[in-house]
Symmetry: C2
Subunit: 608 residues, 2 copies
Amino acid sequence: MFTAIKRLLIGRPLKSTELGEQKLNKTKALAILSSDALSSVAYGPEQILIVLMAAGAIAFWYSIPIAIGVLVLLTALILSYRQIIHAYPHGGGAYVVSKENLGIWPGLIAGGSLLVDYILTVAVSVSAGTDAITSAFPSLHDYTVPIAIVFVIFITILNLRGVTESASVLAYPVYLFVLALFIMIGVGLYDIASGHVPPELHASIGTPVAGISLFLLLKAFASGSSALTGVEAISNAIPNFKAPAPNNAAKTLAAMGLLLALLFSGIVFLAWYYGITPHPQVTVVSEIAEQTFGRNAMYFFVQGTTALILILAANTGYSAFPLLAVSLAKDKFIPRMFTVRGDRLGYSNGILMLALSSILLIIVFNGQTEHLIPLYAVGVFIPFTLSQTGMMLKWIRQKPEGWRLKLTINGIGALICLVVTLMFFLTKFWQVWPVLVFLPLIIMLFRNIRKHYDAVGDQLRLSTCEPPITVEGNVIILPVAGITHVVENSLRYAKSLKPEQIIAVYVPFEREDEAAFEEKWKQWQPDVRLVTLHSPYRSIIQPLTKFVDTVQRKAGEMNVQVTVIIPQFIPKKGWHNILHNQSSLLIRAHLLYRRDVIVTTVPYHLKK
Amino acid sequence: MFTAIKRLLIGRPLKSTELGEQKLNKTKALAILSSDALSSVAYGPEQILIVLMAAGAIAFWYSIPIAIGVLVLLTALILSYRQIIHAYPHGGGAYVVSKENLGIWPGLIAGGSLLVDYILTVAVSVSAGTDAITSAFPSLHDYTVPIAIVFVIFITILNLRGVTESASVLAYPVYLFVLALFIMIGVGLYDIASGHVPPELHASIGTPVAGISLFLLLKAFASGSSALTGVEAISNAIPNFKAPAPNNAAKTLAAMGLLLALLFSGIVFLAWYYGITPHPQVTVVSEIAEQTFGRNAMYFFVQGTTALILILAANTGYSAFPLLAVSLAKDKFIPRMFTVRGDRLGYSNGILMLALSSILLIIVFNGQTEHLIPLYAVGVFIPFTLSQTGMMLKWIRQKPEGWRLKLTINGIGALICLVVTLMFFLTKFWQVWPVLVFLPLIIMLFRNIRKHYDAVGDQLRLSTCEPPITVEGNVIILPVAGITHVVENSLRYAKSLKPEQIIAVYVPFEREDEAAFEEKWKQWQPDVRLVTLHSPYRSIIQPLTKFVDTVQRKAGEMNVQVTVIIPQFIPKKGWHNILHNQSSLLIRAHLLYRRDVIVTTVPYHLKK
């Protein structure tokens, strides 16, 4: 039944050779990989205005130069990542670039912070989208957490179905959102150009503002640059592109950069020109849309697609997290299971891990994940800085044709990212300090996992010179609970192995029971030796283990192997198991994990 | 480490022969078994007044005749249960009495409703005690659920330590509570007798009341009789008494009945004489105490011991539930594990089950379990009625000396209990209807469990006439994941068993891998046959199971036994397990539960 449900939800399993068909073309890739970056224009401009509000509405004109700064940063990032894509065609991303050029520790810092960041992406964007919905339907407000969880599960199922299938579903909302915003910006600009909007709504650029400080402007800039989170997604996901993957990825990245720049500057400009002030209840985009269209169908179209893309922004995390996890797992820093492809060829363990972690975050923060945004932004800019620095070192070391230009591009990128990162720590320390605690912990965990895998590899490798110890014979210990078909069955099997000796062991709790059982056994199996171990403390495992130890010590001296045969009867229905004391499982686990004993389970299947 | 914590919390394990020392003397038994019954005087009188309030404060004098009715019922119950104790010296209780005299179905109705009732006892009384505490310290109000859970865990640990030890701790609060109430009643009566209390505070007995109805009076009576819940605890727990158990139990029961009667009538009388009206925030006992002492130390002594005994009332559930569970488990209606004695000779599985269920109830109802009280009361009176009826039939059938008197006593008891039960359904249907749903479900479950155990017994029993099938030889299948020490080890063991054939099986996911591995194997183990099973869908279990099926079919024709040997490497630390794909566990479970294959696990312990 489990299998049937699984088939229904995620589809039939795919052969490994069907992998090529799961690749993305540019249109789908743009939709699937840029929903995070594009959706951030819904809150990025607002973040700038909120900071500027501290100096009064007259300071809003500063949003124009700040937006230009963000656009410069965006350009630098896009150009830098184009270089990364061509330099690392098998999927670069901050982890690989930092590890190869700066060494293992910077690589782990980048990888660790991105890994956590993708979880934050999912939690934050799904919560934001859910908020948009519950704002529209206040009666749903008590169900924020369950609604958000349902969305996470929905996106998880889409991703378990496979990359291309989820792309088809996700492409429409993303393009509809872009269309809606373009119409809004276009109509707004036309109104302004045709003089329908009075120019006295805003303070003109250059108006002197009392009480403005460099600190405030830098804080506004840092806040605004949170609109750039998600830009790195494409460079992580090159293996998902159709061939020629690097070229297609670079073109997609350029297209995304262009869209992002147009939408971002359009919204900042309209917000300034309309003189819009941020409100806690109403978003800036909503105010612009209302100013432009009034409360008509177009307004709701803009709002609806915005809510949708906020939820779908989570999908970027789903594209990037599993691929980053594969890179880390191949380098043995996280459990190997993340490299296994699921039935539909996606890295399903990564997808499920991401889903569980983000659901946990949503539950712990009770759906109020907004104050995680700065944490999330700083978690993006640390790896940005590291990967740009890594690229600089790469150019300096390899000195390919035109390396000075490349170095300059990545140098500017690295510098701006470093400044933004520092800005976050300076201006929002109390919101981003957890990074300084969790990042070292995560990296320590990575190191320990790697150490363990290395140690295991060393121990398993065959060193051909070692002479194999020969086994001279076998002794079988058979714990019995009564005289039943189950025991008869196991005994028959034990005899068929023709061991040196078979010892049946019975553990009575009462003295009277002991003699009675010995008598019965002598009549039933006179030729099999029975040992009874009276257990005054009513434990089966303790006396049995002690006995096995004794036998094993003697046997070890003669190169004789000890095997414990455990009779286990298996009920017809799964729930019947709770009706039986699972002694055999306990005995098995104890002998196998604590002692070095071979354990054979002889099943006896019940027929009714 | 787990063992060390366990020792610290519950003490060293006890030998089965130390059982006698764990028995209760009368003083301790009274404390441990009557806290539920005695604590109910803290809310029973109040329940009567709340119902009477519907007809106005003038109707409060009816509480006196109603209390007399409750006292008659109490006397009937005590007398009836004394007879049960002597008739069933090995622990009677409603389940055994109903089953033996009325048949299996009435027995299951009584047993099922008591089993659920003890869970309700724990949840309701701990919640009530916690409420008393949070009323005193309102700042704790947000932590009601965690506080209640901590209390449940505390009582659970006491009970896991063993019967007598928990009795020693619990005896003080119970006797202090009794002492406090006796002082309060004594001082109150003295004040009244010495004329310090004006007699015009209350309407005198017999004052005509407009709007009083028989329905209302019956409802008040039913509510008041909720003070009698817990009376049956002693008759269930006879095996816990020191010898001569039945005599000691009967005396303890009589003492409890006397205490209960004195406290109950004292409180009802004072409440009437003082003209006390029930308030939502202040309990009736609190009002009486304030009236009697003022807000001095004695007042807080009464309040404190009341809160304490409400929490300890849960302990009655802990004494009775495990014993009832043993009776049901011995009759195979619930899982056998409830008959196993723990390290300290208590029935620890029953204790833990009760703790978990009541914690679950507290969480689900968010600590507001008060509206479960009627459900809980009706769940007590159904088994009361059944056991009294059972006793009636017993006397009619056996006709011992003086049976007419015995029949009369149990007859009156049965009648009153039946009337109270019907009253609950008539006057509080919307609070007690769940009984009609859950009771049949529980009884169905009991029947199914019994059916399963019977079927298992039939199948395991040795029918000596059946000729045993001989095993002619062995084939060993050895799944391998690579060429490592783990495989080398398992192969050595397989060879030592000298089977007819050893087949190593390798499941590659890629075609290229297949040929390479076959080549390597041929060089390493040229004399062991290797079968490779290419798995395009990346599943190991599916192709392996199919292969095992094929081998088994062929082997079955020749009476040859198939054994699958699974190499398993066991990491040094438990958490390392999550770093390795647990394929060997999955393969083992699949082969053992779905197919009839013998599975041998050869452990390979890692040293670092």
